[in-house]
Structures are given as C-alpha cells and as structure tokens.
C-alpha cells in the first residue's frame, strides 16, 4: 500500500478573545491509497479542524503552529503546511488532488448558478478541456452517483434539490477530477437514515471504482463501522487510538473508545440502563494536565495520568493507543 497523505505532529491553534484553543494538538496519521480512514470523535475534538488544516481552509483566527502535512503528488512529496494557502500550488491541489465534501451541501452551492454551471466551472478550473467536454463529464458523474434525470438536474438550482440529491451532486463534483484524497466531513449527519444508508451504499460502491483514499469524519460509531477500513478516535485535539476497524470494535483499548462503544444504545441489545461516560467534556481553554481524558476515565491512575501525557504505543499490528495502561511512559 502506498502512502498518499501523512500528517505528522500537526498542531492547529485558535487565538480567541477567551484564550488559546488548542483544537488540534499533536495529531499524526497516514492515509494509504484506496483506503477509507474513519475519524471519529465528539464535537470539539478537532476532527473538522484537522480536515481544514489539510485543505488549508482554516478560519482566520486559526494557525498551524507546528507539524507537517505530507502529500504524495505523482513523484514528489509536498508539505502542505509550507504552501501559501491562497497560492497557486495549493489552489491546484485543493479541489483537484484533494477534494472535500461537507455536512451542509446546500451551503456549498451558490443559489444563483445552476448545479451544472458550478460543476463545469470546477472541472474547467483544473482540467484543460472544452465546455462541452466538461458538461459531458459532469453528466457522467451525476449518472455515477445514481441521480435520476441527470440531464435536468444539471440545469437546476441548489434550492430546488433535496439534501440527499445535493449531497450526491457534491460527491459527483468532488470525484469528477479523480482526486487522490477525498475528505468527507460529516457528509451524512444532516440526512435522514434512509438517505444516509443510500449515500453510504453509494460511497462503498464508488470506492471500488475510484482509487481515491477517503478520510471520513463523523461522530457516529455506526457509520464508522459501516464505511471505514481503519479508524482513528479523537479526543480533545489528539488521536487516542488508531486501529483497523474490526480490531477497534472487537478489541477497543483506550478507555475512551471502550466507554464510547459501551455508551451507544444499540439495536438488538436491550438493557434498561446505559453505561454513560461520567462528567463533561472539559473547557477547551482550560485543558486537563496530563492525559486529557483522565478526569472522566475509569482506569485513572493517580499521580501518573494527571501529571504526564502518555505517548503512543503500538500494541498490535497497526493498532496504536495513547494510554499508560499499555505502556507509553
């Protein structure tokens, strides 16, 4: 398997009036060709900021303070953090080599242009072809994502389409340039279950055809289980556990992962009381010292977890965890 993207010790901080928020604080992972990496975590864990850092579309108040984002482009390797976020090289990569789909597709299409115009424009921006060819490509892509009457959808405006349809258009647009990496930031969260199932089914199908590596961000353990090959679990700006999906669900190691899996109500498993994770997510301006999960952890070791930060240990093949229970001193 060839690496396409590697994030090393990424730190993205926000300077806000209330203080510095270390939204992403030392995140490292790699993404291989053709795999789906699921990134799971609660709101505020830094999963979206990680994606925005890779795309270099961070809000003004945010800054990448440390780390590298290596992207294998054809033969050469580029460090995306070194590029000018509005420079030509980054603009060429963004949208073509690394594409992104968002939670709210309605917000990504301008209401004054038709869906077709916007798809064609995106294609022409990166590809040297005529308008007719671009239109044909757009049409082909809409067929690929199973949109009924693709011809008529091309000439419609975003507000005339449902959320599910728009998300399909978004996927079609993102895949039309055959990107090496596709980042999906909670693309099904705003959709109904039956539509979500359709999208997941569609992406699983397309995945077989396109070799794009996918980084799928979600808070939903169910979606993660259904779509990813490998999973990274994030908590308060850090990856606490990475593992192949079956490993993670069969043998979760980090206390947070375990608690998370225990706390979700499941179909076909009825029990009156859920095992809840105690406490609340700490204030982002005032992160706990030591392991960030220690104040909610069941296996908290006094004098260790609240004083030092554990390092990442490889427990099994490709199964890494950041917890003192498995070494990491």
């Amino acid at each position: 398997m060839r690496k396409v993207l590697e994030v090393r010790n990424l730190r993205t901080h926000f300077e806000l009036v209330e203080g510095t928020v270390r939204a992403v604080d030392g995140v490292s992972f790699q993404l291989n060709e053709g795999e789906v990496l699921g990134i799971v975590g609660e709101s505020g864990c830094g999963k979206s900021v990680t994606a925005q850092s890779i795309m270099r579309i961070l809000p003004k108040s945010a800054r990448i303070v440390d780390g590298e984002i290596l992207f294998w482009n054809q033969q050469d390797v580029v460090d995306l953090t070194k590029l000018d976020s509005e420079g030509e090289q980054m603009r060429n990569i963004r949208g073509k080599d690394i594409a992104m789909i968002f939670q709210e597709p309605a917000a990504c299409f301008a209401p004054v242009y038709t869906v077709g115009e916007q798809m064609i424009e995106a294609i022409l921006l990166h590809e040297d072809m005529s308008k007719q060819e671009a239109r044909r490509l757009a049409l082909k892509m809409l067929e690929k994502v199973k949109i009924p009457n693709p011809e008529s959808v091309l000439d419609r405006y975003s507000f005339q389409l449902s959320g599910g349809m728009l998300q399909r258009c978004m996927i079609a647009m993102a895949l039309s340039l055959n990107p090496k990496v596709l980042i999906a930031d909670e693309p099904t969260t705003a959709l109904d279950v039956t539509i979500q199932a359709q999208i997941i089914y569609l992406v699983n199908q397309l995945q077989k055809e396109y070799s794009s590596a996918i980084m799928w961000i979600t808070h939903d353990m169910g979606v993660i289980a259904q779509i990813s090959d490998r999973v990274a679990v994030m908590y308060l700006g850090q990856i606490v556990e990475t593992a192949p999906v079956k490993d993670l669900f069969r043998n979760p190691l980090h206390p947070y992962t375990r608690a998370l899996l225990r706390s979700i109500p499941r179909l076909a498993r009825r029990k009156k009381k859920l095992e809840a994770i105690k406490g609340v997510v700490p204030d982002p301006y005032n992160l706990p010292i030591g392991c960030r999960y220690h104040n909610r952890c069941d296996s908290f070791i006094q004098g260790l977890c609240d004083e030092r930060e554990p390092t990442e240990v490889e427990v099994d093949v490709a199964h890494r965890v950041k917890c003192f229970l498995y070494g990491g001193r």
Binding site: E42, A197, Q198, G222, Q226, I264, R266, L267, V280
Partner: protein, 341 residues
C-alpha cells in the same frame, strides 16, 4: 409497561398548514403535516414516534400540547378519570391544563432564555402558576436541580455557563417543575454529543420511574428509540404506518417502510456490513403526497392496489399484544427485523 389506564387518546388528528400566495394571501394548497392519526397512550409508558424529517412527528407533539391548533380531530386527556378534549379548549380553558403536559426540546441552546438566570428559568412555571414564590420558589428550584443531577448553587448562573448536556438537564428540570403527567420529549438527545447522550437517556428513564411520568418520545434515531420505549409508532408523510410494542416492531416489522428504516440504521459492528440495497428515492413532498399508500413509490412490494387504495390502519397482532399496521399485504409479507440479521 402499558398496564395503566389510558392517559391520552388521539383520534383522527389532522394538521394542515395553508400555503398562501399573492397579495391577498390566497390559499393555493395545504401542507398535510399530520393527516389523520390515532393512537392511545397508557399511563407510565413510553411511546416513541419515529420517522424521517417531514413525517409530522414534531407537529403531532405540538398539536397535543396545543402549541399549535390542530385542524381536526380529538385529543382526549385523562384528568382524574375525566376525558377532556384538549383540541376543543379555548386558550383560557387550556391554561389550568398546561401543568399536565410539558415539553422537552431538542436544542438546549435555543430553549433557554439567555437573559434569565437558571433560577428564573426553572422557577418560571411555578411562578406564573402561582405555586410558589420567593424563598419557597428557590427551595423548589433547588430540589428540581438536584433531581436532574445539577448542583443547586448553579441556580444563580446564566445558561451560557453550561454545556449542552447540563443545559438539557435544566430544560428537563423546567419541564418537571409542574409535576406533569405527560412529558413529550422532542428529540431530546439529538443535539448532544455521543458521550453525553447516555447520561441524559439514563436520567430520563430514572425520572420516569421517580415521578411516574408518561413519555411521548420523538426521535429519528431507532437505536435510541429501541432502548427507551415500550411501544413505537412509525410515521411516514403525516400518517402512522405501524404501531406495536418495541420488541414486536423491531423483531418482526409488518410494514415495508419499517423494515427499510431498520435496515438503514448503520450498525456499530463492522462484522455486520451487509450487502443490502437501501430503499431508493426520497420522502415525497407533503403538499402533494402520492395516492393510495403514501409509501408505494418507494416500496419494493407495491402492487396496483397500493396506488389506488389507502390501506386501513388495522390490528394484525394477538389479543394481548396488538400490532397495528397500514399495509395491504401485512399478513402476507415476511419482513426482516433486526434480530434476524
């Protein structure tokens, strides 16, 4: 379980929202948000209303609470053995009945007035109904906050001091202030983080026992519904298509829509990645719903009769375990539940 007597009887409830056009606000069409639904609610049980967005579950809740006025139908509330039709009451007559029914909102960020202290928010129902004031009010608020797992000292803070989960606890405390019999929970955990959801669900179940509450639990999340409810009503485009006990409905659904809903829920188990084909198409517009059975354009079992005739909402279950369904072929189809996967 549903051993108690009837607390609520909903009969043929309808809510149509007019669509107005032009200078004179001429009504050109109606959004049939709720289109003739009927169900009973028994004391002490949790009845879940599930369905996708636009199916009318929230509108149903708001009608029962009379936050909006229903177009047609009866909402009979049992008040000390007397069935009172809430739908027919004037606003004035309604006021003393408000204390019997309360609502827990979906979004804890918009349902608390940011300009009031927790004390005023939780105490408002007690104050406006002249149940308590001054020192007594504070004591009652403290009691309520303790019941939902918050420190009573927090009552002097403003809502912005609290996280989503804590805010939802405040919302619950306010809903319980008047000791209601019926609490409608409108997606109470949908806006919360995964690790907080379990806490709130546990709290709701705990309070149900402690205060002898009856819940109508509205959710689109079937795993949550399955966990908390005794009976489930599945709604599609303003109608209830299936209503049965939770076990029955999840084990052996009788309506094709219920089946596809159950199959659509992504299971948190990578071993169970099954190659099913999700149902195609999307929920049609409630302005102009399909003829006959609303589900027929998406139903793989649909036949001619589904296009022409509205299926009757009928009991196909056993005597002690009724199972209502609105499908022409309910008896003939053998559908997949979640146990059989």
């Amino acid at each position: 379980m549903a051993t108690g007597h009837k607390l609520l009887e909903v009969r043929n409830l309808k809510k149509y929202f007019p669509i107005e056009k032009g200078f004179f606000k001429r009504v050109v069409a109606y959004v049939k948000a709720v289109d003739g639904i009927s169900f009973d609610l028994f004391e002490g049980e949790t009845l879940a209303l599930v369905g996708e967005s636009g199916c009318g579950k929230t509108t149903t809740a708001r009608c029962i609470l009379r936050a909006i006025d229903p177009t047609e139908g009866q909402i009979l509330l049992n008040i000390d053995g007397r069935m009172v039709d809430v739908a027919k009451l004037s606003r004035k007559e309604l006021k003393p009945l408000r204390r019997y029914m309360q609502l827990i909102f979906q979004n804890p960020y918009t349902s608390l007035n940011p300009r009031l202290k927790v004390k005023e928010i939780v105490g408002e129902p007690l104050f406006v109904n002249k149940i308590a004031k001054g020192k007594e009010l504070e004591e009652k608020v403290a009691e309520l906050l303790e019941a939902v797992g918050l420190r009573p000292e927090y009552m002097v803070r403003y809502p912005h001091a609290f996280s989503g989960g804590q805010r939802q606890r405040i919302v619950i405390a306010r809903a319980l202030a008047l000791r209601p019999r019926l609490v409608i929970c409108d997606e109470p955990v949908a806006a919360l983080d995964v690790s907080i959801r379990a806490q709130i669900l546990n709290l709701l179940m705990e309070l149900q026992e402690k205060f002898k509450l009856t819940y109508i639990f509205i959710s689109h999340d079937l795993s949550v519904v399955q966990h908390v409810s005794d009976r489930v009503a599945v709604m599609y485009l303003g109608r209830i298509v299936e209503l049965a006990s939770t076990e029955e409905l999840f084990d052996s659904p009788k309506h094709p829509y219920t089946e596809s809903l159950l199959l659509s829920v992504p299971k948190p188990d990578p071993e169970a990645v099954e190659e099913f084909r999700p149902i195609e198409g999307e929920v049609p517009s409630p302005v102009n719903p399909p003829s006959g059975c609303h589900f027929h354009p998406r139903c793989q079992y649909a036949e001619e009769v589904c296009r022409t005739t509205v299926p009757e909402f009928r009991d196909v279950g056993l005597l002690e375990n009724p199972h209502y369904v609105a499908c022409h072929f309910a008896e003939r189809l053998s559908l997949k539940g979640v146990r059989q996967l």
